[in-house]
């Protein structure tokens, strides 16, 4: 799973969000390291909807413009949990080899 996909799914893990909210949240989750642009975000959202990992939660009209809220599907939640577990296992393996005694590597 690409990092952008992982971050988008993570942004939707707790609650539904609209596009602009996802952009801001992805930046916050990654500590400002990943800043998605709208074109990249909507290409990813369209693909993730097609793959059944996210779905539209509700729609609103704000200042005459459509605002759509997205949320994870059951399959999306499972995929995100599996990817998070994989990353956690990798990180654990790396840290335990860097510092076999149990302390944190610096």
């Amino acid at each position: 799973m690409q990092e952008a996909t992982f971050l988008i799914l993570t942004a939707l893990a707790a609650d539904s969000q609209h596009g602009y909210g996802i952009l801001a949240d992805v930046s916050q989750i990654s500590g400002g390291r990943v800043r998605l642009r709208p074109g990249t975000l909507y290409t990813a959202l369209d693909r993730l909807r097609g793959d059944g990992l996210i779905m539209v939660d509700r729609e609103e009209i704000v200042e005459g413009r459509l605002r759509r809220y997205y949320r994870l599907t059951g399959e999306g939640g499972e995929r995100l949990a599996a990817e998070a577990a994989r990353l956690q296992a990798n990180a654990h393996a790396a840290l335990s080899r860097l510092n076999p005694a149990g302390g944190m590597a610096t």
């Binding site: 074109g39 704000v62 413009r65």
Partner: protein
């Protein structure tokens, strides 16, 4: 026209690069997010924004439908490879032009200058003009077959038949003696083409290519009109 209207027009122009379905589903929403993300007082679409939208449009256009089987996905990748190889042929022809000229001279020593010029043109020009056109056809075929167009599969197989006949004809005329590099490139393309044909006509691909019942061209005799 105020700044915001000009900016919106710029975004709309770029959004026109996306496929129609994508625009219908996401266009207005994406436009709203673009305008919300724009810096205050921004009058024009930035270079990075434009590049992002063009890249997104390209991805949306190249994306294959979810139901596209792996065999067709592989065939589409080969079709893209075919387009790349065609450009390779163009480069090969340009680079080997002098060796082709000398080979023709060695093979037909009795030719007059005008005749020699005509033979050289007959061997080089079709490749130099044809290669970019054929590369375009490969891309067109990748688009059609990746979307399960029944006619795309038929046309691709027909082109394969014609290119095989053309290659056999060139071999029988002794083209191999002119430039072995050209022959190698031609053979590589033929193998790519043959493999892609086998993939799109394989059993797992069959369900993806359903004839359009409204297309008169593919109606069989006795079927409902």
């Amino acid at each position: 026209m105020n700044d915001r209207e000009g900016l919106e027009r710029g975004y709309r122009r770029l959004l026109a690069c996306y496929p129609r379905e994508f625009r219908r589903e996401n266009g207005e929403e994406l436009l709203g997010v673009l305008l919300s993300s724009a810096a205050g007082g921004q009058r024009r679409v930035g270079l990075a924004e434009a590049a992002d939208l063009i890249r997104g449009a390209l991805r949306a256009r190249l994306r294959l439908p979810r139901q596209c089987p792996p065999t067709v996905r592989a065939a589409v990748r080969l079709m893209y490879a075919g387009a790349v190889l065609e450009f390779g042929i163009l480069v090969t022809v340009i680079l080997t032009e002098s060796s082709v000229r000398s080979a023709i001279l060695a093979r037909y020593p009795g030719l007059t200058a005008a005749q020699w010029h005509a033979v050289v043109l007959a061997h080089l020009v079709p490749d130099e003009i044809g290669a970019p056109v054929v590369a375009g056809v490969w891309l067109w075929m990748a688009w059609a077959n990746g979307r399960g167009r029944y006619w795309g599969r038929v046309v691709f197989a027909a082109i394969f038949g014609l290119s095989t006949l053309s290659m056999l004809s060139a071999l029988s005329e002794g083209a191999v003696t002119f430039a072995p590099a050209d022959l190698l490139a031609g053979a590589a393309i033929w193998v790519v083409h043959a493999t892609a044909v086998l993939l799109i006509f394989s059993r797992p691909s069959a369900r993806f290519f359903r004839p359009n019942p409204n297309a008169r061209f593919f109606r069989v005799a006795g079927s409902p009109q």
